[in-house]
């Protein structure tokens, strides 16, 4: 699904990612953990195509294509979805309008006709129920005046409706109380399938109690310093990041 080879990225003259290697197969869940400032968010931004970064080396291949050459909206239409750490408020654009515009862009990209209005409503209403949201949300402006938890839930709602192939969750758990976290995790778990992969960028191990990853990678100073199974997250919970950073510094 996704193959990152020796990826190096700068912001201005400053190297942020210093040689990332990562292979993600269809159906897998990868957790990327690490302390603040390790480059976790940069990695999710690079995959989704945010401006402001310079790729200085390496490749990112998504479903056999060069991901880095695609405009952000093309990546999204090809099935890459970023759930934002800080979802943006868009006054004047309603949720339902954005969802419809997004869904129809994907359909057009794949040569399909626009979604039928009735089918669309049925679809979004079922997803709204799944995420325990009020239908009124659909008619409100995107994220405007939403609480932190509502914004994150809205990201997962969009993901559930757009049915991407590669889901990147950028600190989706940050700022959520336990109830909101459970709802979000349930939403994510309901989307798990053999054709869909997840990259969960997180600072906290707690999320992984509810969404069990297949692999855990630790990012520090712009490199993956350790990879392992779900048990690595528990080890990190116990020991913190310090021992890994020290290992790396010593190396």
């Amino acid at each position: 699904m996704l193959s990152i080879k020796n990826l190096t990225v700068n912001v201005g003259d400053k190297p942020i990612l210093k040689g990332i290697n990562l292979e993600i197969k269809a159906g897998e869940i990868h957790a990327i953990m690490g302390p603040n400032g390790s480059g976790k968010s940069t990695l999710s931004h690079i995959l989704s195509g945010k401006a402001g970064y310079t790729v200085t080396g390496g490749t990112v291949t998504y479903q056999g294509k060069n991901l880095l050459e695609m405009a952000p909206e093309i990546r999204a239409r090809e099935g890459v979805f970023l759930a934002f750490q800080y979802p943006v408020e868009i006054p004047g654009v309603s949720n339902i309008y954005l969802l419809k515009a997004a869904l129809n862009s994907i359909r057009k990209h794949h040569g399909q006709p626009e979604v039928d209005a009735m089918d669309f409503l049925t679809l979004i209403k079922s997803k709204v129920r799944l995420l325990e949201m009020d239908e009124k949300f659909l008619y409100r402006a995107v994220n405007e005046g939403f609480s932190g938890g509502e914004k994150k839930r809205n990201e997962i709602l969009q993901m559930a409706i757009l049915e991407p192939k590669l889901c990147i969750l950028d600190e989706t758990d940050s700022g959520l109380d336990i109830d909101a976290l459970k709802v979000v995790a349930e939403g994510v778990n309901s989307l798990r399938s053999p054709e869909r992969s997840f990259v969960m960028v997180t600072h906290y191990q707690r999320l992984l109690d509810y969404i069990k990853p297949d692999f855990v990678h630790v990012l520090a100073h712009g490199q993956i310093v350790k990879s392992g199974g779900a048990e690595l997250a528990l080890e990190l919970e116990e020991k913190g990041y310090g021992w890994l950073e020290d290992t790396q510094a010593a190396a």
Binding site: V93, A101, A102, H109, Q158
Partner: protein
């Protein structure tokens, strides 16, 4: 001051004066004569006048627009008319500055309510007009008002008696069909104590160069309410001056929605005087494309205590367009407990577009709450990326955000027929790719 231009217009005045309405009313003759004298001495406003410093009207002075003395309403295209005229409203249609009975709709008005052309009113209710004309604004204010006072050919007169609540809006349509014509109309709206009304003023014309110089005076009685919508859709070669001057009595409510879309050079004045505990809401949306120059001047005079004013003007400027916002809030020494908030937000879509914004607070009382905020900026890159990450291409994302910015003001229009017409004008002025009417 350009008295040369003034004298060219003044020379023409003698020819048209005999056919102006109200010539048998000595008080009006005298008022027109004084206004003419003022205009002859002062001319159109110049850049040296503080409240005109961003708007150069010399292009108007270089031309000589002449009033039309006849009406050619049979030439009005029905579809064109319907794109502006509301179905569910009483309407007074002025074509080239003259009332058209054929196009106006006045059936079913409550008996005590007067809605008629100014020319008619000068015959039927001259004493009412003597009481109100030149009272909400004085011809000394600036050249266009003096000019309008001397030259006006017709207009709208509305009188709503006490406690009468008008069930349908009253619309005045200013339609210009001829090239190089001058349309000077004077409108008087009076809502007596506890009366309520919605007034819509629409300006449109065929694709010619011409000059509109309209003045509207609004008098709102004790605890009465008036909602006023102005939709200015002049064609791209036209010049437009349109001023609304409002006197609010104690506890009176007024809201004004100003849609400034058309004209090569367009200036709008909205000036309100607030009595004790009255409320005034001024909303505006100006859209500039190509080489348009759109100037909005507002003044809110808090004269007595406890009045509330809220103002939000938004501008979207593309190409080489220039938008001006000058907003003055004056709080008199007696106007304690005034609560006033003024905001102006500008969105620049091109490097050559320009916004000049000047909010002014003049506060002479010491126990008041007054604020103002101004922004001039471009579309937010974070928002664009967010939409792109949701499959929307960059151009569509820009259009969506631009439309959303403007639509906040359109959404405040509570009359459906008008809302749809305003929305259509907005959509016609900016690229629509990805933006559709099912937005709401």
């Amino acid at each position: 001051m350009n008295t040369a231009a003034a004298s060219r217009y003044t020379a023409e005045y003698q020819a048209i004066a005999p056919v102006l309405p109200g010539r048998d009313l000595p008080w009006l003759q005298s008022l027109r004569a004084q206004a003419l004298e003022k205009f002859s001495a002062r001319g159109f406003p110049s850049l040296r006048e503080e409240e005109w410093r961003y708007t150069n009207v010399s292009a108007i002075e270089k031309k000589l627009f002449s009033p039309s003395m006849s009406i050619a309403s049979s030439h009005i295209d029905t579809d064109w008319l319907k794109s502006y005229q509301l179905e569910d409203a009483w309407s007074v249609v002025l074509v080239d500055g003259h009332f058209s009975g054929e196009l106006s709709v006045l059936e079913g008005l409550p008996e005590a309510v007067s809605v008629m052309s100014m020319a008619d009113a000068l015959v039927k209710q001259p004493e009412a007009l003597e009481r109100y004309i030149n009272q909400a604004v004085n011809y000394n204010e600036h050249g266009f008002i003096a000019f309008n006072t001397a030259w006006f050919t017709d207009g709208l007169f509305v009188h709503i008696p006490a406690k009468q609540v008008l069930e349908k809006p009253v619309q005045v349509l200013h339609l210009i069909t001829q090239a190089d014509v001058l349309a000077t109309t004077r409108n008087i709206i009076v809502a007596d104590e506890m009366a309520e009304a919605e007034i819509i003023e629409t300006f449109a014309g065929l694709d010619n160069a011409y000059l509109t110089a309209a003045v509207t005076e609004v008098f709102i009685g004790v605890n009465a309410g008036v909602t006023f919508y102005k939709m200015q859709c002049e064609p791209e070669k036209a010049y437009h001056f349109g001023g609304a001057y409002i006197k609010q009595s104690r506890d009176a409510r007024f809201s004004h929605h100003n849609f400034a879309f058309g004209g090569l050079l367009a200036r709008s004045d909205v000036h309100a005087d607030l009595d004790h505990a009255s409320e005034c809401e001024l909303n505006g949306l100006y859209l500039g494309i190509k080489r348009q120059h759109i100037d909005n001047h507002t003044r809110i005079n808090h004269l007595k205590p406890h009045a509330i004013s809220r103002e939000l003007y938004k501008g979207v400027l593309d190409d080489r367009a220039r938008g001006v916002f000058q907003g003055r809030v004056i709080v008199a020494v007696d106007a304690q407990k005034t609560d006033s908030q003024m905001n102006n937000r500008n969105l620049l879509l091109s490097n050559d577009a320009e916004a000049d914004t000047k909010p002014q607070l003049e506060i002479y009382a010491d126990d008041v709450k007054c604020g103002h905020g101004v922004t001039v900026g471009q579309l937010d890159e974070k928002s664009i990326f967010y939409l792109q990450s949701r499959c929307v291409d960059e151009e569509t994302a820009r259009n969506m955000l631009t439309f959303a910015f403007a639509n906040e003001m359109v959404d405040k229009v509570k009359i459906k027929g008008l809302h749809d017409r305003v929305l259509e004008q907005v959509l016609a002025r900016f690229p629509q790719e990805g933006v559709s009417k099912e937005w709401l």
